[in-house]
């Protein structure tokens, strides 16, 4: 009897997977569509906007790999390069699956639990799979399914960023478990608050601006990264052995791919090939540019020579910082954001880290946490209705001092959930499989110990 039931269950869920709809949630069909940010939603599909969003989705995936994988991979020691890359590609597999199965629903479906997160109406993409040719009311000028897959790419890269903090020492199984839980219980709720149509930060009294994920992506991952670094402890030999980047050419390739991919991340967040997307594109590029100059410039002054790692770090810092602001600010403001990010993240990655002595291996906190926070605040300062056309989206410089407060509230709330969530999840994962690789495994390197392979066999 029992086997019969479970056989029917399995059959039912496969059917559901294949057809993409199920009856008990039929009434929730339009939820996801409404959840999309679109003040004056044009109901007709537009091929230009669709083309741009298809490309943007591909670009954001490229940010995770090869982009981030190379950026991070170059910074670790040779024996851990595959470990980093494996994290990235495995996340591409796992987070995509989770997003399809329940993540999208928890993030963008109508809120439950007092708006803490979305419901289960869009589980397994329910309601997102229109029949061919049938006119469906779209939330924007692109198919809702495209919005879903675009957001999926963000869901992949965000835990990927955290990996920088525990690189070279976390067990692979622990990483997998951690990211699955973190995505579900930290990312999805914060995404719901900030971007869902009924999110408490998306509109209303606490409206917090986050154009492309400064808070959702960078602040949450950066803060969680710091906690990971603290709770996992330092790498063996940290502070005694030298641990220089083993391949800065990879770090450079990765950084510049991130730069290119970020156009999809930020300008894509306009969800259309619109003038706002162009604004976001320009802001993104200029912040990266001035971030590069700022970080490399400080080094030039302080140590006599600008370094390529500094230039790359500055570019990424600028990109992180402009993320929440991209579609709300003028190009000039973006340049200021880039400079500030370059300077502040430089200080975070050098003085602060060495002062407190935690081992945030690849500066996931120093760049994404700090840069994300600074960006959130400065968005509240520089946002202008001139660019977004939305009077609600203006900042301190246009006299809306409330916006800075709201940005702080938004950032604070995200920070809170990230820290509490990460703490609990790490404890759970530790209890289940243990967090750190064994000492022997760490010395041998994660490539061999976790994956049984070597990165380079050049002889």
């Amino acid at each position: 009897m029992k086997t019969l039931i479970s056989a029917r269950l399995i059959f039912a869920s496969i059917l559901l997977l294949v057809t993409g709809s199920f009856s008990f949630a039929e009434e929730a069909t339009t939820t996801a569509a409404e959840a999309v940010a679109a003040p004056v939603a044009p109901p007709k599909l537009d091929t230009g906007d669709t083309a741009w969003m298809l490309v943007s989705s591909a670009l954001v995936l490229m940010m995770t790999a090869p982009g981030l994988a190379l950026f991070y991979g170059g910074l670790v020691r040779k024996k851990n390069i595959l470990g980093v890359m494996m994290q990235c590609i495995f996340l591409m597999g796992m987070m995509s699956t989770i997003w399809m199965l329940w993540g999208y629903s928890i993030a963008f479906d109508k809120g439950i639990a007092g708006g803490f997160c979305g419901g289960f109406g869009a589980v397994m993409l329910n309601g997102l799979l229109p029949e061919f040719g049938k006119e469906v009311p779209h939330a924007t000028s692109i198919p809702d399914l495209l919005f879903m897959v675009y957001q999926m790419m963000f869901f992949i890269i965000t835990p990927g960023l955290i990996c920088g903090a525990f690189a070279e020492r976390m067990k692979f199984s622990a990483m997998v478990l951690f990211c699955a839980l973190w995505g579900t219980f930290v990312y999805c709720p914060v995404a719901h608050w900030v971007w869902a149509a009924d999110g408490w930060l998306f509109s209303g009294k606490y409206l917090a601006l986050d154009f492309a994920g400064g808070t959702v992506v960078h602040l949450t991952s950066g803060a969680s990264a710091l906690l990971c670094a603290l709770m996992l402890g330092k790498r063996l030999g940290f502070g005694q052995e030298p641990m220089p980047p083993h391949n800065l050419t990879y770090t450079f390739i990765g950084a510049t791919m991130l730069w290119v991919g970020w156009f999809g991340f930020n300008a894509g967040s306009a969800l259309a090939a619109s003038p706002q997307a162009v604004y976001a594109f320009v802001a993104t590029h200029l912040a990266a540019a001035t971030g590069t100059l700022a970080w490399a410039g400080i080094e030039w002054i302080k140590r006599g020579k600008p370094s390529i790692l500094g230039a790359c770090s500055g570019a990424v810092a600028g990109l992180v910082c402009v993320t929440p602001a991209a579609g709300f600010v003028t190009p000039g403001s973006a340049m200021i954001l880039g400079v500030v990010a370059g300077v502040v993240c430089y200080v975070a990655c050098t003085s602060i880290k060495s002062k407190f002595g935690y081992d945030d291996s690849l500066d996931a906190f120093g760049v994404h946490g700090v840069g994300g926070f600074v960006g959130a605040i400065l968005t509240g300062v520089f946002a202008t209705k001139h660019v977004s056309g939305d009077a609600l989206k203006s900042g301190l410089l246009e006299g809306n001092s409330q916006q800075v407060v709201n940005q702080l509230i938004g950032a604070g709330a995200a920070l809170g959930l990230a820290l509490v969530g990460t703490f609990i999840i790490l404890k759970v994962v530790d209890a289940l499989v243990g967090l750190r690789a064994s000492q022997d495994d760490e010395i041998q390197g994660l490539d061999l110990s976790q994956h049984g392979e070597e990165g380079y066999i050049f002889y």
């Binding site: 030298p242 641990m243 220089p244 980047p245 370094s307 790692l309 990655c349």
Partner: protein
Amino acid sequence: MKKIEAIIRHYKLEEVKNALTEAGIQGMTVSEVRGFGRQRGHKETYRGAEYTVDFLPKVKLEVVVDDGELQKAVETITSHARTGQIGDGKIFVSSLDEVIRIRTGEQGGGAI
């Protein structure tokens, strides 16, 4: 038969090789090494973390010669690898018990 091991600068290898070949030395083996002595390394900083890189890249040249050719070989290396600046390197000479050419099985001087 003597084995000469010379630690020299990278960019001197070509010159030394040519000089040795002209001096009639017909074979040699090189490998990549890193080392320090009087000449110490430099500092590298990566996002504020400073590392002293003591070991500098050098080339190790190994030449096996008949006893009679030792002096010529050493002098050739010395004169062509020299720049006069700290870090020019060292030459170590030791004795070999036997030399065998794998291809033919020849032993001794003829195998070199």
